[in-house]
């Protein structure tokens, strides 16, 4: 059965606000997604009916909050098909998850001369932590290039992957190009060389089913707010045997087993990596978001989004001079483009007049901009609640931009 988009849209109050007197067209889903009503309701209920800290008290509310908090861990485990719920660590988001690996795994297990492999299309959050680590430990950062369609050059990856490679940290889906990388195949190749693999799944989890056992990755990171959940919460998945041998990232409450001034022993997984009071409401909200997205179903989500991508790719060509940036064969509904003679920020401001939210800038992927020789692009990133009629409005707005900047 096809996705009933009009019914789905009723679940998202944000889709019904007006901008400049026009119904909003929200095409900035790669930055953050709108939230279904059930997410805010779940958080509201925690704040109004059982506010309390988790893992602390024996009182009723704390028990309830702990059950809801840990309930989400179970949902994430199922969502990612992880072997055990202790392999799910709550963080503040993808960035913190990647930094956790760089600090805890990287600083403990990597040494001078070891190579870390990333790609040219990484988000800055999957570049900078590794540069910091390389500077500190004397590791070497290697970069897999992509071609002008925005697809990784697989033969270059195979060349760069050597016995020196200790870690491959790779984006599943590019936020600025929409490219879906062949991560499963890459993971197998990396494992063949004895390297571990971290997958940045920030842009993947809202668009397709992500199965960590099927992929075989060692670590995987994502953010709640790109999965229709709240900001401030994210997930790090890690294989238990790896997480167990890694030292804690932050020290504090909740991550200890016992503390004396002479010696502290750390808590078992996952608490070893969750120092301090966590984002309880946000974790509960994330649980509601996962329930929601699963109720819609990834089969239907993917089918609808692919039809939007196909339609958008076609009708954007009506805009004279428009050039798409990122035309990989395997991609999600991310339409990055440039209009010669018009700076993306001017495009962004002008389409905003028409009630359309797109992102303009370098999208935290400056190396991607450099590859294409542009300072910035305009990006329409779609989700399953978007429609072809909204794409038509974008095209009409861009034709107006062309009138202002002939």
């Amino acid at each position: 059965m096809d996705l009933d988009v009009q019914r789905i849209r009723q679940d998202f109050p944000n889709l019904h606000v007006n901008v400049h007197g026009k119904p909003i067209v929200y095409f900035d889903n790669a930055a953050t997604t709108f939230k279904p009503r059930s997410v805010a309701q779940a958080m509201d209920e925690y704040y109004q009916k059982y506010t309390s800290n988790v893992h602390r008290g024996v009182h009723e509310l704390s028990e309830k909050a702990t059950a809801a908090y840990e309930g989400t861990r179970g949902k994430v485990q199922k969502f990612l098909n992880a072997r055990a719920s202790q392999e799910i660590i709550f963080t503040r988001g993808t960035t913190e998850s990647i930094n956790l690996i760089a600090y805890s795994y990287g600083r403990h297990f990597l040494k001078k001369g070891d190579e870390i492999l990333i790609s040219e299309m990484e988000h800055h959050s999957n570049i900078v932590p590794w540069q910091m680590l390389c500077e500190e430990k004397g590791c070497v950062l290697k970069v897999i290039p992509f071609n002008d369609n925005g697809e990784l050059v697989y033969s270059e990856f195979e060349k760069l992957l050597t016995a020196k490679t200790k870690l491959l940290s790779i984006v599943y889906i590019s936020n600025s190009l929409g490219t879906v990388n062949p991560v499963k195949k890459m993971i197998r190749a990396a494992h063949g060389r004895g390297a571990l693999v971290l997958v940045d799944a920030a842009q993947a989890v809202g668009h397709r089913r992500v199965d960590v056992q099927d992929l075989g990755c060692d670590f995987l990171a994502f953010s709640g707010h790109k999965l229709f959940g709240p900001t401030g919460v994210g997930v790090l998945y890690g294989k238990a045997e790896l997480l167990n041998k890694m030292p804690p990232f932050h020290g504090g409450g909740d991550m200890i087993s016992s503390v004396t001034f002479e010696k502290t022993t750390y808590a078992a997984l996952p608490y070893k990596f969750e120092a301090g009071t966590p984002a309880v409401a946000e974790v509960i909200g994330l649980g509601a978001a996962i329930d929601y997205v699963l109720s819609v179903g990834f089969g239907r989500i993917e089918a609808h989004e692919q039809s939007l991508l196909e339609y958008g790719t076609r009708v954007l060509q009506k805009v004279p001079g428009l050039k798409l940036i990122g035309t990989a064969k395997e991609k999600v509904a991310v339409l990055s483009f440039i209009l010669p003679g018009v700076h993306p920020h001017d495009i962004g401001t002008l389409v905003n007049d028409e009630g359309i939210a797109i992102r303009t800038g370098h999208h935290c992927t400056q190396p991607v901009m450099k590859h294409f020789g542009v300072p910035a692009t305009s990006r329409a990133s779609l989700s399953f609640y978007n429609t072809t009629a909204e794409i038509d409005r974008l095209v009409a707005a861009l034709l107006k931009v062309r009138e202002v900047f002939p």
Binding site: P344, P375, V404, F405
Partner: protein, 154 residues
């Protein structure tokens, strides 16, 4: 927000200066120059000045670089309004322009010498774009003050 932003922001004079910027060139032997950069959007420009001493008169001013229509038009209009002014007058213009784009100076009510620069009066409705208009001015000030580093909006 119900204002008609296009008529406010993308007025013809801005479109024209973006398309055919004035003083878009390098001065061969500038007495002052500086580089300005907005890391959030990549706008990047150079400002060159030639100041005649004594008297401190700006007898030539120019710019080069790349950016959005707002930043290019702002740089272009800045050069046309600074030419022939003393450094002291440039300082007054800088101050008035700054208050204009923050919405603190209303060109119709408040005394000012902004002239054509008042086309930017609506920009304070667009907080994300204010820096586009101010980049060239901060870079000019940095040049005059011989700032040692690249002038950044951040």
């Amino acid at each position: 927000m119900t204002h008609d932003s296009r008529s406010e922001l993308y007025q013809q004079v801005i479109i024209e200066h973006n398309k055919s910027p004035k003083n878009f060139r390098k001065i061969s032997s500038p007495t002052h120059e500086a580089e300005g950069y907005n890391p959030l959007c990549g706008d990047h420009l150079h400002i060159y000045l030639h100041v005649q001493e004594p008297g401190g008169v700006i007898d030539d001013v120019s710019f080069e670089g790349d950016g959005c229509a707002i930043s290019k038009a702002s740089a272009s209009l800045m050069t046309t309004s600074l030419k022939g002014k003393t450094l002291k007058e440039a300082d007054i213009l800088f101050d008035q322009f700054h208050r204009l784009i923050k919405g603190e100076l209303h060109p119709d009510k408040d005394p000012n010498v902004l002239g054509k620069l008042s086309v930017f009066s609506g920009i304070w409705h667009f907080p994300a774009r204010v820096k586009c208009a101010s980049l060239s001015w901060h870079t000019m000030k940095g040049a005059i003050e011989k700032a040692p580093k690249i002038i950044s909006t951040e």
